[in-house]
């Protein structure tokens, strides 16, 4: 009987002691949390894509509540939803220079020279590490759909020409395709400045044209035609200064002999070629 009482007393004592610790922690160590963060998080799309630059929707909601970010920073939420969040928080929604994933290659099956048939494991990265796949161009799109697989928003579909078509309405600029591409062909670029160089070949002249009919051969016409020095030739490729925030219009593309530089306000490649 004595043992039982002793055990009971110890348990009760422990309970009171730990309870006191908890009470102390509740009173003095509490981190005040803005209750609005919970609400804002529930209004966000919960896709945790990281497109906003925060580690997830919860972190973004907290940043919003603290006023560190603007609701338009979420690339996934619709305009109405962004407005709703802005309204709830009583802040300005902000304007987002919307970005989408753009492919720096226009050399599909019809354009690029094939030097061999790749029959190995069907993945761009596998082809890339195995003799570079069958394409003669060692910089171009391999067309085996690693990006399509990586895209969590089903925004990428391979077309019949073996190039990924990015649906600009579905693309949230989360950057998963940028990571997935073994040849680093994707870049997140502002939709408002739709001048694109669809080539990564650092060769010039006939050497470039021998690889692909859509290759940039570094003739430099686009650089001459671009207003105000917006384009520069770097490593045999025109480089457009997106940071200046200017839309140069389609004029630099007019004299391009291969179509390597394009002005594409919408999606890059023909959707008509989408694989059945």
């Amino acid at each position: 009987m004595h043992d039982v009482l002793m055990a009971g007393a110890i348990m009760a004592g422990l309970g009171i002691l730990l309870g006191a610790v908890l009470a102390f922690a509740y009173r003095f160590l509490r981190v005040p949390e803005d209750p609005r963060a919970q609400r804002v998080e529930s209004m966000l799309p919960s896709s945790n894509c990281g497109g906003c630059g925060e580690p997830g929707c919860r972190a973004f909601a907290e940043a919003l509540v603290k006023g560190l970010r603007q609701p338009s920073g979420c690339t996934v939420a619709s305009k109405e939803r962004v407005a709703e969040i802005a309204n709830f928080l009583g802040v300005d929604a902000g304007s987002l220079d919307r970005k989408v994933a753009r492919l720096h290659c226009g050399g599909g099956r019809a354009q690029a020279v094939q030097i061999a048939a790749y029959e190995g494991f069907e993945s761009c990265r596998a082809a890339h590490v195995t003799g570079g796949g069958g394409k003669g161009c060692s910089w171009g799109c391999l067309g085996l759909a690693d990006c399509e697989l990586a895209c969590g928003f089903a925004a990428i579909t391979m077309n019949g020409n073996g190039l990924p078509v990015v649906d600009v309405d579905k693309c949230t600029a989360c950057g998963d395709c940028v990571v997935a591409c073994p040849r680093d062909l994707f870049e997140l670029l502002p939709l408002r400045q739709p001048l694109l160089v669809q080539c990564r070949v650092p060769l010039a002249g006939a050497a470039a044209r021998a690889l692909c009919t859509a290759a940039c051969d570094a003739c430099g016409r686009c650089v001459q035609d671009a207003p105000d020095g917006l384009l520069r030739m770097v490593d045999n490729l025109p480089r457009f200064d997106y940071a200046r925030g200017v839309d140069p219009g389609p004029s630099p593309t007019f004299r391009c002999p291969t179509g390597a530089i394009q002005y594409v306000p919408q999606q890059q490649f023909a959707a008509a070629e989408v694989r059945p």
């Binding site: 029959e119 494991f121 570079g132 796949g133």
Partner: protein
């Protein structure tokens, strides 16, 4: 445990058919000179810096590019001729890389202009290492790692054993076998030079026991009382991986992420020793190497001494061409070599073989689900779990892959070889390793 009635080896591994009977008795022949040679600047280590200009005439053996940094080697002209281009050409890995292109002088006698010979005993270690680097010598086993880097050993890691790798466990390849049979004196001369410089107490030469003539030839060159041991090893793949070789010879494991030097060993290929002997005693830099041309697609399989930079197309033509059913060309061995997208690529310092296969060998069987049979675990010489790695790779679970030591995989391909479900295990692992390396590189950049 090495029982007296069993040959020494490592644990796990596979036994592919060796397919060496076609070329193992063929004397190494010389490749006739062809019109053009293409030498990529990067052939093991960091790309070299060219020291020649377009239009310049070069002599056979003359230096045309100099090492850029420590892990880099010089490059020498394989023929008398004229530099016609410094531009991009296709590398066997498919990329278009910076190369030096030489047009051979059709009227030249093609005599090598030797560099000054050097007595290795007169050099201190630093000058010795620099001299090996000048000779453009890389490991000729296949990975083409600059040879001199291994000879610069830190004082706190003394070298006990200098190990020569004469296993040649890859099927089809017989270039090291022929080198051991035909030039055993040079193999041992090179080994003695290196072992002395490293301060190694003994030299161990591991040779798979399917090459009895090589073992006999090497043993015949060993002086009485000399600490050189020629050890026959079990025929098993990947016996020629340096960590497996050390395990077979000394029963000692090289820990993951460590180098043979951490257990007091330096491992070199036997072909590399011939290059060392030629460079020190005759002043001939690495301008040619022995290549095995074999496989069911080749009309006249052969072991050929080929000037570096010779186009694979010309090399195959020298071997009477390929049969029309040929579907795939592989550079290196069939297990670890890689497919060629084009045969208009040059023979490199690391090219041990050029193989041609027909549909019968290259057909990929239907892939089935993993049976959990565990054969790949029994095959993996590094004691990894290939089936789990393959599954994780398919799902892109990079953190879990690293936790399962994917980076310790040496991509020997024993798992894929043994898989009854035809799962492309090693390919999946290579994809994962490439993706992880890419991710690390991108994280570092911004």
């Amino acid at each position: 445990m090495n029982l007296p009635f069993r040959l020494q080896s490592f644990r796990h591994g596979v036994h592919p058919d060796d397919h060496k009977q076609g070329t193992e008795h063929l004397v190494v022949e010389h490749m006739p000179f062809v019109g053009r040679y293409v030498l990529p600047l990067g052939q093991g280590g960091k790309p070299a810096k060219p020291t020649v200009t377009r239009g310049q005439r070069v002599r056979r053996g003359e230096r045309i590019a100099t090492a850029d940094g420590f892990v880099s080697t010089s490059l020498h002209a394989p023929v008398d001729g004229t530099i016609v281009d410094l531009g991009r050409h296709r590398h066997p890995n498919g990329d278009l890389v910076d190369c030096i292109e030489i047009e051979a002088d059709a009227f030249s006698l093609q005599t090598i202009v030797p560099h000054a010979t050097v007595d290795p005993d007169t050099l201190d270690v630093d000058n010795f290492v620099a001299h090996v680097q000048q000779g453009g010598i890389v490991g000729l086993g296949g990975a083409a790692f600059p040879a001199h880097v291994k000879y610069k050993t830190p004082a706190e890691k003394p070298v006990r054993h200098f190990v020569l790798n004469g296993c040649e466990c890859e099927p089809f390849l017989t270039c090291d076998h022929r080198t051991m049979v035909e030039r055993p004196a040079e193999v041992l001369r090179g080994a003695r030079i290196i072992a002395k410089k490293l301060g190694a107490t003994d030299i161990h030469i591991g040779v798979e026991h399917n090459k009895p003539d090589a073992i006999a030839a090497l043993r015949a060159q060993v002086l009485p009382g000399e600490a050189i041991h020629v050890t026959p090893l079990e025929v098993k793949y990947p016996q020629g991986a340096e960590k497996m070789l050390i395990k077979a010879l000394f029963g000692q494991e090289v820990p993951a992420g460590k180098l043979p030097l951490d257990v007091g060993c330096v491992v070199n290929n036997v072909g590399t020793m011939v290059a060392i002997a030629d460079w020190f005693d005759r002043g001939i830099p690495l301008i040619e190497r022995v290549v095995t041309v074999s496989g069911p697609g080749v009309r006249r399989p052969a072991n050929v001494r080929v000037p570096l930079g010779t186009p694979v197309r010309d090399l195959l033509a020298h071997c009477a061409g390929t049969v029309p059913e040929t579907r795939e060309f592989v550079m290196g061995g069939p297990m670890m070599g890689s497919s060629l997208a084009s045969i208009d690529v040059p023979v490199l310092k690391g090219t041990s073989g050029v193989l041609a296969f027909t549909a019968a060998e290259t057909a990929r069987g239907n892939e089935f689900g993993c049976l959990k049979c565990g054969r790949c675990l029994d095959a993996c010489a590094n004691f990894l779990n290939p089936s789990v790695l393959a599954r994780l790779s398919r799902h892109g679970e990079f953190d879990a892959l690293e936790a399962n030591f994917v980076m310790d995989c040496m991509e020997c391909g024993a798992c894929s070889f043994t898989c009854p479900s035809n799962i492309p295990i090693v390919q999946l692992i290579r994809v994962a390793k490439s993706a992880i390396r890419d991710q690390k590189r991108k994280e570092k950049k911004p």
